[in-house]
């Protein structure tokens, strides 16, 4: 991950109408709280590979053990992403046993949490990552780029079957080292408060 990747990723998301908020991992719950509508369901976030990293958490109002009825009633689904592809503004959503796929799909807004450390520059990097995992672990991954879209009804509309809006929470890794101190960088930055309404 480089700064160039981060800025490319954000630029691509912006052009897709996806809002982005950034901050350190410890601010995750707050960032998600700002981004999620109500009611919200979610999947607990996995820890990063680095044990020294602070755990990212979700706000209490996000139901992380929803029933199918809760899912059907939810406005927002909150999930993690395993990977981001800077050049395309894509996030890799894993269809795992915890229900990341239905929670990100059967809702109006998908709030997706991505660690900056998991950002790769381009598609070949993404498939170099996927290859071994597909062969060894049979993973199922959806590379999602922006909201669900269709042009089949005589004009571009978002939210054909999947989410109408996507919000990315980008957890910066440059704050992990000085988790104790408040720096300017450590503050929560929200790219845009606007949602991706048409």
């Amino acid at each position: 991950m480089s700064l160039a990747d981060r800025s490319t990723f954000k630029r691509r998301l912006d052009s897709l109408g996806v809002t982005v908020s950034e901050g350190p991992a410890r601010a995750c719950a707050e960032l998600v709280d700002d981004a999620a509508g109500d009611p919200a369901v979610g999947v607990p976030l996995a820890r990063g590979d680095d044990e020294s990293e602070p755990a990212a958490s979700l706000p209490d109002r996000v139901d992380t053990d929803p029933t199918t009825a809760d899912l059907r009633a939810a406005h927002t689904g909150v999930t993690g992403a395993s990977l981001g592809v800077a050049e395309y503004g894509s996030v890799a959503v894993e269809a795992d046993r915890a229900g990341t796929e239905p929670v990100s799909l059967f809702v109006d807004r998908h709030v997706v949490v991505l660690r900056e450390a998991d950002l790769v520059p381009d598609m070949p990097d993404a498939f170099a990552w996927l290859g071994p995992r597909a062969r060894d672990e049979s993973v199922d991954v959806v590379f999602a780029t922006g909201p669900s879209a269709t042009a089949d009804m005589g004009g571009l509309v978002h939210g054909a079957h999947g989410p109408k809006e996507v919000h990315v929470v980008l957890l910066r890794d440059d704050d992990g080292a000085d988790a104790g101190g408040e720096t300017a960088d450590g503050d929560i930055a929200t790219e845009s408060e606007a949602t991706a309404d048409e």
Partner: protein, 756 residues
């Protein structure tokens, strides 16, 4: 004329009328929606691929992966069978549609006892018509792709392989919903229509039993399938049902997951102009997601229901393995069904896939698919609509020579359709080709254009007068299918070669020359448009070139355009025989007619030994490309005509409108004329139309005249009211622009050549 011939003439004439009527109807009912959408996709392709730094490299990579995969296909089928089964799925290799349908129907109707099967979009399932088989077995089938759902409600076939309902307007969809769902106040805007569909389909998804998808690619090394979608319906189809059936042609296999990367970057850009679609699902099924239980929805979502998931990969042969053995059709299997060839095609933009398509597939590549899957007779119904303009060639992300597949299939159609009742005796002197007796007369007349032109030139005053006489045109229309609304090209009484000899040959002796060139006397320039040949001589000599114009045979373009491959090959060998001594002597070959240059630079690789084809390709130049090169290498532009000089009939102002020839653009010489004209001080506006619509002889044919004029319509819109001087390089572009604009454009070389 014999009575047999008379009868044949009438039957063919009636066929042509029926075809023209069908095309006219489609242009009126669907043409506007198709044109707007496909032209939008096509512009999007240029923009999106233009954002890639390594577009050509990616295409080469994608091509290489497909070549390798198809070469190793039997091995990959074995490998994917092992990997899918190791993952807990089942693979079934179906010989044909009936075999596939039997397997799917038994699974859904008998084993699963399914009431409803939901589907995401898949052309391969259209090919095998699995919906009919399932419905007959009592399983309700619901298409969840919005476009496919609209067509299912309307009981219509897709008109485009990616955007299936492209021919339907928003208003038509609104009316359809009102009628089907008995709505007094139907949704009207795109947003309302989409939300209506989202809601209806959402309910149907919830209690579906089986989910069926296609697959864009399948990696043999892991059993991972890739789905390119935007709506999210494929994701729901897989997630909401416990039985996932993926139906895919065997050609979808690639060796590894890593091989997906270039295709993911190319497929959306090439098709609809999206850098990437909203969802790229890479599934290694059975998938791990828990199944939302919408009936007992009080249970937690995250449970062990993934353990109950079942996956079936149905690989379809249905003619593909035979295509793999067919040297000419094999390339079709590289197709990734992105729709670039449809969107880039002038004829497709006007009529859409309901005319330009067969049982399932549409657009230029459909000729390969339909020949391999359905047979020549199906391909024959629409194969004429590929005019060989070649604009699909640079658009294809896997570099398939789509016009060549169309040519080969046309050749096979010609040879398969031998009819003893033909009127060949009448024209035997005019059509000395290498083809079997009995192929369509209009095909042979055009294919032998060189001989016709020679004959016409010899008898020019009489031939030109007779050519446009009413009663003769009526006969030409009925017997040979040449539309009488077209003005026929006139012939010159003194061919270019004779004129050049009569003037005493070259004006610049070799000793004083910067370069030596053979100006190729292409058939159109030599016998019809001699003035542009004379202008080329003046321009080249003004730049110090020693010019020769030997008497050389035609390039073989007209027979090639008619699918007369043997005749074209014989012509290529003759033309090369005539040119080779000049190439040996270090002379450049300069060509005025772009379609003939494209033969030398591109098509001859199919007809000549590799080294010969390469030598000629390297030595030959478009005349404007050559002038550009001379100027770049120190040639003095003062010898050419700048905009301020002269006021004669061919003099022009500063402002120019230029339509580059389709094939010239494909071989990369469309823009040299612009560069030369701009260098001389002209202000050039370049057309943004892929092809003028005439495309050689296409626009002359009765069945296609109106379509040809419709394809040219954007040119009329762009240049119709212009005060600019219109220039175009191709002979057929010149005829078409004359018909569209009311006056004939000149060749750019005539604009810039010094006056006589």
């Amino acid at each position: 004329m014999s009575s047999d011939a008379e009868t044949t003439g009438r039957t063919e004439s009636a066929d042509r009328t029926a075809k023209a009527d069908r095309i006219r109807e489609l242009m009126a009912t669907e043409g506007d929606a198709v044109a707007e959408n496909t032209r939008g996709f096509n512009e999007g392709r240029y923009e999106s691929t233009g954002r890639l730094d390594d577009y050509e490299t990616l295409k080469g990579e994608a091509r290489g992966i497909k070549e390798d995969a198809i070469a190793r296909l039997p091995e990959l089928i074995d490998q994917v069978t092992e990997t899918v089964e190791a993952n807990g799925g089942t693979v079934y290799l179906a010989d044909d549609a009936a075999d596939a349908n039997r397997y799917v129907t038994e699974l859904a109707a008998e084993e699963r006892d399914a009431d409803r099967l939901i589907k995401s979009k898949s052309m391969t399932t259209e090919e095998i018509e699995v919906n009919d088989a399932l419905e007959a077995a009592g399983v309700e089938v619901v298409e969840t792709d919005l476009g496919e759902w609209v067509l299912q409600l309307a009981d219509e076939a897709p008109s485009h392989i990616v955007a299936p309902a492209i021919h339907k307007s928003r208003e038509a969809i609104s009316e359809l919903f009102a009628e089907r769902f008995d709505l007094a106040d139907p949704p009207e805007t795109a947003e309302e229509l989409t939300m209506f569909a989202r809601e209806r389909l959402g309910e149907l998804v919830e209690d579906a039993d089986v989910g069926m998808t296609g697959a864009n690619f399948i990696a043999a090394d892991s059993g991972t399938m890739l789905l390119v979608t935007s709506e999210g319906n494929a994701r729901k189809t897989v997630t909401a049902t416990d039985t996932h059936v993926a139906v895919a042609g065997v050609e979808k296999l690639v060796p590894t997951v890593e091989d997906f990367a270039p295709f993911v970057e190319l497929i959306g850009r090439s098709g609809t102009g999206q850098d990437v679609t909203s969802y790229i699902s890479t599934l290694t099924p059975p998938v791990d997601s828990p199944m939302p239980d919408f009936e007992n929805d009080a249970d937690p979502l995250a449970d062990d229901s993934a353990d109950d998931r079942d996956f079936h990969l149905v690989l379809i042969d249905n003619g593909r393995l035979a295509m793999r053995e067919d040297e000419e059709l094999k390339e079709t299997l590289y197709c990734i069904r992105c729709s670039a060839c449809s969107n880039a095609c002038g004829n497709f933009q006007s009529v859409g896939g309901h005319a330009f398509g067969g049982e399932t597939y549409s657009g230029g590549i459909a000729t390969g698919w339909e020949t391999g899957i359905e047979g020549l007779d199906v391909a024959a119904e629409f194969n004429d609509l590929c005019t060989g303009c070649s604009r699909c060639v640079p658009a294809c992300p896997v570099e398939i020579d789509i016009p060549w597949i169309n040519t080969v299939v046309r050749d096979r159609i010609n040879r398969g359709d031998v009819d003893a009742g033909q009127t060949d005796w009448l024209f035997e002197e005019l059509i000395p080709d290498e083809e079997p007796a009995g192929i369509d007369l209009s095909t042979r007349l055009v294919g032998n254009y060189e001989t016709l032109a020679k004959w016409g030139s010899r008898t020019a005053p009489v031939a030109n007068r007779l050519a446009n006489v009413g009663p003769l045109r009526a006969v030409a229309e009925r017997v040979a299918g040449i539309d009488r609304r077209r003005e026929l090209p006139g012939f010159a009484s003194e061919p270019l070669v004779d004129w050049f000899d009569a003037r005493g040959g070259a004006a610049v002796p070799p000793a004083d020359a910067t370069r030596e060139a053979v100006l190729y006397p292409d058939t159109a320039t030599n016998y019809a448009d001699v003035d542009r040949g004379k202008a080329a001589v003046r321009a080249l000599e003004a730049l110090g070139v020693h010019v020769r114009i030997p008497d050389l045979p035609g390039s073989g373009r007209p027979p090639l355009s008619q699918g007369m491959v043997s005749t074209a090959k014989a012509a290529a060998e003759d033309a090369y025989g005539g040119l080779a001594p000049h190439v040996d002597a270090g002379r450049d070959v300069v060509v005025i007619e772009p379609s003939d240059l494209a033969m030398f630079r591109s098509e001859y690789e199919k007809f000549l030994p590799e080294r010969s084809a390469e030598r000629l390709a390297d030595a030959s130049y478009d005349v404007m490309e050559y002038v550009f090169g001379l100027l770049e290498n120190g040639g003095d532009p003062a010898g050419l005509r700048a905009p301020t000089a002269g006021t004669g009939p061919v003099a022009a102002g500063t402002r120019i409108a230029y339509h580059p020839h389709c094939q010239a653009r494909t071989i990369g010489v469309g823009e040299h004329a612009t560069a030369v004209m701009e260098r001389l001080g002209y202000d050039v506006r370049v057309s943004d139309t892929e092809c003028c619509g005439m495309a050689g002889s296409f626009g002359y044919k009765t069945d296609y005249y109106e379509l040809s004029m419709d394809v040219g319509e954007p040119l009329r819109e762009q240049f119709g009211e212009t005060d600019r001087t219109v220039v175009a390089a191709g002979t057929s572009c010149t005829e078409q622009l004359d018909a569209l604009l009311g006056s004939a454009p000149m060749h750019p070389i005539e604009l810039i050549a010094p006056r006589e």
